[in-house]
Symmetry: none
Subunit: 207 residues, 4 copies
């Protein structure tokens, strides 16, 4: 490798990054339009203008791009979530910031995921659990646990609670996306109040 390559990304490096990006973008579009099931590697690669063999220099399979895509979203969201945590000093503050951030993220991104899909939603809907998504889940659960530990909330089943919170955020978020205008503040208010109101009523864990 030449010295130049150590200083700035060479042509190679640029192309590599750009190609990977191009494939991910194309994949996002194709999955959105055709659904996971129907989308083929050929559909994806055709849209990039690259040759079919080139796909395999970047991903091992269609499944791998799909996961990379899901991972990508989670990976981009996780720092945001982390920032919410660091910026809040109350549990409510964290919860509200996190959910608001998630809904804003949805509003920004979901255009990608719903482009060209009929509202009646044909295609069965596929969801994967990637490492990055797992990490988001763990981050949320960790935050809850820490708050409970510190006495900022009653000690309840953190696993159920985080599952329930994520579920509420996801589904209320989906409903929110179906309405016009998109009202992330109203949806956040709803979700936060439901959860926050519910927590004190939850069965306590034995100390």
């Amino acid at each position: 490798m030449s010295d130049a390559a150590l200083l700035a990304p060479g042509k190679r490096e640029q192309t590599k990054v750009a190609n990977r990006r191009a494939i991910l973008d194309a994949a996002r579009e194709v999955f959105a339009e055709l659904g996971y099931e129907a989308a083929t590697v050929r559909d994806i690669i055709r849209r990039t203008g690259l040759a079919s063999g080139t796909f395999y220099n970047y991903f091992r399979s269609r499944e791998e791009v799909f996961e990379a895509l899901a991972d990508d979203g989670a990976a981009r969201f996780r720092p945001i979530l982390r920032a919410c945590w660091e910026a809040s000093n109350t549990f409510e503050g964290y919860l509200r910031a996190a959910i608001q951030a998630y809904f804003d993220f949805m509003a920004d991104e979901h255009e990608n995921w719903l482009a060209g899909r009929p509202p009646g939603e044909r295609h069965p809907h596929v969801r994967v659990k990637t490492p990055e998504i797992e990490r988001v889940f763990l981050e949320v659960r960790g935050a809850f646990a820490q708050v409970m530990e510190a006495g900022g909330a009653p000690r309840v089943d953190a696993d159920y609670l985080s599952a329930a919170c994520i579920a509420v955020a996801r589904e209320v978020g989906d409903k929110m996306m179906e309405r016009r205008p998109i009202d992330t503040v109203g949806a956040t208010d709803f979700a936060v109040k439901l959860i926050l109101g519910g927590i004190p009523a939850l069965p306590r864990l034995a100390p």
Copy 2:
């Protein structure tokens, strides 16, 4: 045609029903073992002992059986849900009965859906929206609306609320299924208390 034929279905009729059933049952097993993605029509039909062409006398594609299966589940659950509604005289009673029924239903059925799959496996999760499933949604939302109407609960966004409840039931249910022993009562208690506690805190609709 003999009188008997008017009273009892002919042999042909019987076989048709039996075959449809056989294909649905085989499909349930195959989807459970292989996952939706990997399952093929051949896998399904092989298990029934029927001829491959016979599959197409009953369903047009793998997707169609899958939907029939989901529809079937919802169709079997709906009367139960309805019975919960008719048997309860308080909102809390309904909610608890409904969620408990759902978790029991899950516990009964999920054997079918996860049989033989390694527990840690990251199987993509597929979900369809069939007419019967839609009706379950509507039933839940209708029940909420009716309770609010009657003054049995504060007037809140019924759409968000039903979405949130179903979401909580689904996700807490999934977590419940991962634990041993399966504790439907504990999970029900958690979900009901969360929702019931949260509702009074929700933003009210303008009257």
Copy 3:
């Protein structure tokens, strides 16, 4: 069989004839619309309203209906041809009558064969040689031979001649059918004059 059956066709017989006719008619339509290749027994039988099994009470295969259909046309045309022969006393008279009759027959029938076909004619075109068609050919050749025998025309290669006449009739007939208005008289005049003018020039057979 009852006496009645000997006097008039019974219900059975009526149905049998009617069903055969119905299948032939449906087949004609289907072959015309879809082309021989693409047409299936199911397409044909569906159009009759009969059950698929019933087809096999009348024909052994799709090929058999197709031939029956071709045969049918030839069988209906042959008596006409024969009548031309019997009614004419000159060679020219026969030839003209026969070709005119054929063109009239085409004009009557071809509606069936071209119904719904695009003029650009997709589908490869299939032609079979059935026994009845063979007989028409033999009839024509026989007529030529007889005329030559009787000295009414020079002795030439009857096989080539009848092939050529039939070919001319077929192709000029096809062109005729593409024009509007359909002018069977003009087409007949053309074909007859070409053949009649050509015959004297043909190489003679050794006596």
Copy 4:
């Protein structure tokens, strides 16, 4: 890309051409042996030694190869026809040269089309109209029109005439192929004399 590549096709290019040729050749054989109807894509590809998928890199269907084959024949014959035209200075000369050339072409090629089929067999005869075949038609009609224009023949219906000539050539040619030995000269003589003798008798077009 090296300079050489500009001069000679790369190896890839060569294989592509060779494969296309191989498929066409195999198709010709298979159609000849099995008939159009019975021949399958598998039969064709098996004979090439290529993989089944490869077929679809070159043709979309069995029908498409068939048409390509017919087109190919016409494409190879058309320059011959053109040469006949350019070499002749009389109408008779052209007609005779063209028909002789066609019969020779048939005699050369028909081995391919009938190889291995029992002679008496009633094989359905399939015919397509491809662009190249259309051009042969137009070429013939154009030649006739030009001769008439120049006063080398009476002004008659060029459409009917070219249809009739081609028909005679085809059918007399087929008969010729059934005889042994194959006598292209005799058949040519027959066809030419019939047509040439017939033309002066044809109804004239209004000037």
